[in-house]
Amino acid sequence: MQPIPIIASVLIALSVGSNDTSNALGICIGCRIISFRRAVILFGVFVLIGILLQGRKVMKTVGKDIVEMDLRILGISLLVSAILIIISNWRRLPVSTHQVIIGSLTGSGTALGADVNYGSLFEIFLSWALSPLAAFFASIMLYRAMEKTLSKLPFLQIERIIRVLLLASGIIIAYTTGANELATILGPIIHAGLIDETWAFLGGSFLVFLGAVLLSNRIIETIGSGITALDPYSGFAAQFGAGCCVFLFTSLGMPISTTYCIIGGITGIGVLKGTGTVSVNLLKKIALSWILAPALAFLTCFTIIRTLI
């Protein structure tokens, strides 16, 4: 049973790499500010810095606070999570790793009658609902502030500043991918004592990097241009607003989705520019996956455990 959670974590880390490079640097790659190769290297480095500096709080929330962990819960939850995440990525749907992992852990824990901390779970649900909304408003405010300040500068200066800011916002997202997303994956296996923390940090970051190199192209298209047409101003405001939100929630130890914060940010800018520019159908699809992902993860784990064990 012991290798199963490790193998599943490896698969999820690879998926995070493929999914979240687009969150972090998709806009920069789309705008050709940075080449794909340089982007993934930068992404990998900041994922490692993120988990080393700030990953422990989220790791504790996921690995210790939600459910009383045992090897069966861990194995089935992570395996089911890995399968669901891979299928979602394959279907080109930006799915939240946190939602799937937490849904699975809760489902397995409930089925086995383990002690589930509903208070902690409620806080996490609240963070999931609040974080995209916070990103929505943060991006709007940022966009407005940029319009008022940057537009007065000379053209060449604006161009340069936007380049630097877009890259900086990408780096923030890469950092929070390490501090939040990777911490969610590693939290359960580290707290179950399956792997040493240092090796988990290094190995996890490498796997995320590998996922970015091998698989990230597919989701970049959806994030970069699928929801609303982005100019560099909007791209920065959406990404930086989302980055700040994830950073804030990470500091509180909340495992929230960078993907949904960016979607919140992009939607905010879309609404600011006119609701016509936002693809409602795509948003509906994303909203559906937001509800379905944790529910499906919960039910799958619950059913498997009740049937097999």
Binding site: F155, I162, Y233
Partner: protein, 208 residues
């Protein structure tokens, strides 16, 4: 390093400098054409061709700089379009100069053509000044407006000139065609400069 980070990158400044150089060739070509018409000096025609050739070299350099990553991709198509229009204006100036070598113009027509060439040269200078403002805080709108007013003047002169020329006797088809082509090319320069000015305005406002 901070200066390079926030005051405009080296590549971008290089492109703007080359755009000015390219535009400078157009200014010189228009001024030379004006001098050639005013002084009946057909020797000057070869200098216009030389300026056009030099302009081509700078255009290629600009495209190469943009391909290497100067400016955000969001801006690149409009910058390329601007450079292409200026290059078309250079081509048309060269064509007008070459057509002029075969023409015999009466004094009144010559004066009108010289006026058109003079206005085109002034429009070029105005557009060059507009490019300069890209790296500063000055507003482009005044310069765009001045260019539009100049273009309107060229249209008025062209309208009167063509009206008068229709009453003149033409000896043969080729003489008429050469004259028509020359006037068409001469007046197209101002049209193209106006188009280029519009693109410069689009580039300028697209990040604001």
């Amino acid at each position: 390093m901070l200066k390079e980070l926030f005051l405009g990158g080296k590549k971008e400044l290089e492109v703007v400098d080359k755009m000015k150089k390219h535009m400078g060739f157009l200014c010189s070509a228009c001024t030379t054409l004006k001098a050639a018409i005013e002084n009946w000096d057909k020797e000057l025609i070869s200098s216009v061709s030389d300026l056009e050739r030099e302009g081509d070299i700078v255009r290629r350099e600009i495209f190469s700089n943009i391909y290497e990553g100067a400016f955000l991709p969001f801006l690149r198509p409009n910058i390329c379009r601007f450079v292409e229009i200026v290059d078309n204006a250079l081509d048309v100036t060269k064509d007008a100069a070459i057509e002029y070598t075969d023409l015999e113009l009466d004094e009144e027509t010559k004066d009108d053509c010289a006026r058109i060439a003079d206005i085109s040269a002034k429009m070029c200078e105005m557009l060059l000044a507009a490019i300069e403002t890209l790296s500063g805080r000055a507003d482009l709108r005044e310069k765009s407006l001045a260019i539009r007013i100049y273009e309107k003047k060229v249209d008025e002169i062209e309208f009167d000139l063509l009206k008068r020329l229709r009453t003149k006797e033409i000896k043969n088809f080729w003489e008429g065609k050469a004259l028509s082509d020359f006037i068409h090319d001469l007046t197209s320069i101002s049209d193209l400069i106006e188009d280029a000015s519009d693109y410069l305005q689009i580039i300028n406002i697209s990040l604001r």
